[in-house]
């Protein structure tokens, strides 16, 4: 086993913890909507996407057609295409088959960690980075769908913030060093508040809001600032 595989595994731990919480709530939600435990677990193990699975369970609960479910899944998850494109520039040269494998593990959090690393990422690091969250996502779903009532509400609530806490830990150290990144964040946050609190714009689904705001923000930033060259983004403290 390569060293980089283990450093990927380790970097995946915070994602894993956050996923356990989110997928627990998915498991509870699915069972509450009348979806069998086995289906909930199968969905998690084949999709590994929060918003997409919630949408699918909602629609399946309402006996929607496969076309509807397929379209909704595409819309909610289309942001992964953007992330996949960015990662195509970020990964080291690797075979067709390896890229096919890694593609299955592109989530918001995995993408974020991989794309903000200072150097190119290889297959073994990515594999490690994907495995831990995948285990967490599956395990959380099983827990949520079966033994959810054992967790105190206060703990579930506190763990609900962990994924966001991780996001903060990724961006703040870079924003501290690179003013353009700080400005990019401020633009993104302002736009996302605008979309959230303006009644006409709030009709846009969460998936689309992320895409639209991201494209506007990154275009603006690319016009206004040149990135600090040689991509010397601060390595996230381990």
């Amino acid at each position: 086993m390569k060293q980089s595989f283990f450093s990927g595994l380790r970097d995946g731990i915070p994602i894993c913890l956050g996923y356990i919480v989110v997928s627990m709530s998915f498991g509870m939600f699915a069972v509450a909507r009348g979806i069998p435990v086995s289906t909930a677990i199968a969905l998690s193990m084949t999709n590994m996407t929060s918003a997409g699975q919630f949408a699918a369970v909602n629609l399946a609960g309402a006996c929607a057609t496969f076309t509807e479910i397929g379209l909704a899944t595409a819309v909610v998850n289309i942001r992964y295409a953007l992330m996949s494109l960015v990662l195509s520039q970020k990964i080291e040269k690797m075979s067709f088959f390896k890229r096919m494998l890694l593609a299955a593990g592109i989530t918001d959090e995995v993408f974020t960690l991989a794309s903000t690393r200072g150097q190119k990422v290889g297959f073994s690091y990515m594999a490690g980075l994907i495995v831990t969250p995948y285990i967490g996502w599956s395990l959380g779903t099983i827990l949520g769908a079966t033994v959810n009532s054992l967790m105190p509400v206060s703990v579930v609530s506190a763990m609900g913030i962990t994924l966001y806490g991780m996001f903060v830990a990724i961006v703040v150290p870079v924003a501290r060093e690179e003013r353009p990144v700080l400005m990019t964040l401020l633009i993104a946050i302002s736009l996302s508040c605008l979309f959230k609190y303006t009644p006409a714009l709030a009709a846009l689904s969460a998936g689309w809001t992320i895409i639209v705001v991201t494209l506007i923000t990154a275009s603006l930033a690319a016009c206004l600032f040149t990135p600090v060259e040689t991509a010397k983004s601060v390595e996230v403290a381990k």
Binding site: L85, Q89, V155, Y164, A169, T217
Partner: protein, 101 residues
């Protein structure tokens, strides 16, 4: 094939294709400076959008979520790492909710 099996097949296939097509078929290195900059800023744009204001609704009260957010920013500013920052935020939420809910 049962309806639920179909749901699993459709969702997993669509989700996989969305993730797989760009990374597998887009191989050449981008040459445009603007596109490179655009790609460089995308993760930060995504993270900013996903984190705020959504973080404020991630716990049982805006007060506890706001406190967790603040603690996360402080820990992150001093480079405390992903795990410690995430757990610090969760601890802040737990403590604030213990006294206020």
């Amino acid at each position: 094939m049962s309806y639920l099996t179909g749901v699993i097949l459709v969702t997993s296939l669509v989700t996989y294709l969305v993730r797989m097509l760009p990374i597998v078929f887009f191989k050449r290195e981008l040459s445009s400076q603007w596109l490179k900059a655009f790609m460089y800023y995308i993760p930060y744009a995504v993270l900013g959008t996903m984190t705020f204001p959504a973080i404020l609704e991630s716990t049982r009260s805006t007060l506890s979520a706001g406190s967790g957010f603040l603690v996360a920013i402080i820990l992150a500013y001093f480079n405390r790492g992903l795990l410690l920052t995430a757990l610090g935020a969760a601890a802040a939420v737990f403590v604030v909710e213990y006294f206020t809910i």
